[in-house]
Amino acid sequence: MPINMLKTKFAEIAVCVAATPDTPSAPLVTETAHAAKGYDLDVTVPADRVTGAARIMDEAAFMLEAITGVDWMAEQQFEIVYDYTAVALGARVVVRARVPRATPELPTISRIYPGANWHEREAHDFFGIVFTGHPELIPLLLPEDADFHPLRKDFGA
């Protein structure tokens, strides 16, 4: 079963998570019920491992569907959510990473998935998340001189 194989592969990355100081208490690689959640595997990786996660997904021939952020203001963190789908299997994998709200930086995956280029620019527009190594992190949907990030919870609208 490919999902099981992926679980093992992600577990290697997840071990590195446990080594970091603020380890989340929830399991890092969880199999979820597709009917209830809409995805089959929920993976949390440290922010600097998202490229490794993308490589695992790429080797397993997954398609990148979307990248987005969630502003967890109470915890002073941004969550970055990567949605992958396996065209052949109909299976979905969610990869999550968290960065501090004050220094929202994590590496780009646009070298592995060129489609990530626009999704990362959009997340930069909306949240101000900086994807280091991105070829041109300039506004995509917002005006070219935009200095605001509308999906931050402290942005009034």
Binding site: K37, L64, A66, G115, L141
Partner: protein, 372 residues
């Protein structure tokens, strides 16, 4: 030859296609770097129609966001609403009555046909053929009349509700739809004679603008684009939802990856959608069209969920993150056109400008869906 002349003939120039070019369907701008008529680089510039629907999803109740969904991809508005209500229903644990599921599929598939008919007409205009539009709009008009009678709208439908649909279909609609199915089936040979067999059309499409299956995967292109590249990916089959698993329909796939393949996929999908509608009408059960006990103000439990539907343009996804209140904490709207357009820059490199416009046309872009 002077030094000046030697450098001149290698010079490239920059041309703005849009933001209002009639061939670009809405406010899309493409910054072209051209070497003569050949494209060195084509950078899409988007965001002219950006309205921040995702923020609007966070600052109003779930029900109040319903009309927004019909205003993203307004050519196939049913699918956006379908994806949204299904995501919220999944999160809130609402079960939809069977009759409502059937009506949803009937209206959604009619919308798919309307969307593809509009695309065929508009695409032929892109290529310089005006006539087919007059025929496709004539047929599309009949679908809009049918849908208007039950939904109250012709374009920006807001027909689905959490737990069902807001209005039951009547005998007039069923009879009218059956009549329309027979009518459109009789028109398909005419379309193939008018368009598919047209030598000018074939020359403009065959072998033009190839997109590889690998590029589709790397850029997340879905819908008729990936199916025109030989991959049988359809959310209705890959992650069956609603009553689709109970219906018999094929997923048209063409392997050439060129403009012709994407055209043929859509033409075949019209026929398949008619089959789906016919089967759903045949088996339409009785009963209510709204679930009982759906609270007026929804407060889904904490957590997140994702729901994908196969829109006329590809995989439309909604991620809802709930914090247990009456408003979504985060609402991500995954637009198929966004990903489909993102591969244009790579795939158009080295093409003739006129051919690149054919490629752009076959991506079937609705710009407000990209901009959201």
């Amino acid at each position: 030859m002077s030094i000046e002349a030697q450098t001149l003939h290698r010079e490239t120039f920059i041309l703005n296609l849009g933001p209002q070019h009639p061939a670009t369907h809405g406010v899309l701008r493409i910054k072209l770097t051209l070497d003569g008529e050949y494209i060195e680089d084509a950078e899409p510039v988007i965001g002219y129609g950006h309205r921040m629907h995702e923020k609007m999803g966070e600052n109003r109740t779930y029900a109040k966001f319903l009309p927004n969904t019909g205003r993203m991809d307004y050519v196939a508005a049913m699918f956006n609403t379908h994806g949204y209500v299904c995501a919220v229903e999944r999160l809130a644990g609402i079960t939809v009555p069977e009759r409502a599921e059937f009506i949803r599929v009937i209206t959604a598939e009619l919308n798919r046909v309307a969307s593809h008919l509009l695309w065929v007409g508009a695409f032929l205009i892109d290529l310089g053929g005006f006539t087919p539009l007059l025929y496709t709009f004539d047929d599309r008009e009949q679908i809009l009349d049918l849908l208007e009678a039950v939904t109250g709208a012709r374009l920006t439908f807001c027909y689905y509700r959490f737990g069902g649909v807001c209005n039951d279909i009547d005998d007039d609609f069923i009879a009218g739809t059956r009549k329309f199915i027979a009518h459109l089936r009789s028109r398909m040979p005419m379309y193939h004679a008018l368009i598919t067999k047209n030598i000018i059309f074939r020359r403009r499409c065959e072998g033009i603008g190839p997109i590889s299956a690998e590029n589709c995967r790397k850029y997340g292109a879905t819908g008729p684009v990936i199916r025109g590249s030989g991959v049988a990916y359809d959310v209705r089959k890959a992650e069956p939802y609603s009553i689709y698993p109970r219906l018999d329909f094929n997923v048209p796939v063409y392997g050439q990856g060129d403009c012709m393949a994407r055209y043929l996929v859509r033409m075949d999908e019209i026929v398949e959608s008619l089959r789906i509608v016919e089967q759903a009408l045949d088996r339409l059960p009785g009963g209510p069209v709204m679930a009982e006990k759906v609270p007026r103000i929804l407060k889904p439990p904490k957590g997140d969920c994702y729901f994908n539907v196969e829109s006329a343009r590809g995989s439309f996804g909604v991620r809802v993150v709930s914090d247990g209140t009456d408003k979504a904490y985060r609402m991500k709207l995954r637009s198929p056109c966004f990903s489909n357009l993102s591969l244009f820059q790579e795939c158009s490199r080295g093409m003739l400008l006129a051919d690149a416009l054919a490629l752009l046309g076959t991506l079937d872009l609705v710009i407000p869906d990209i901009d959201r």
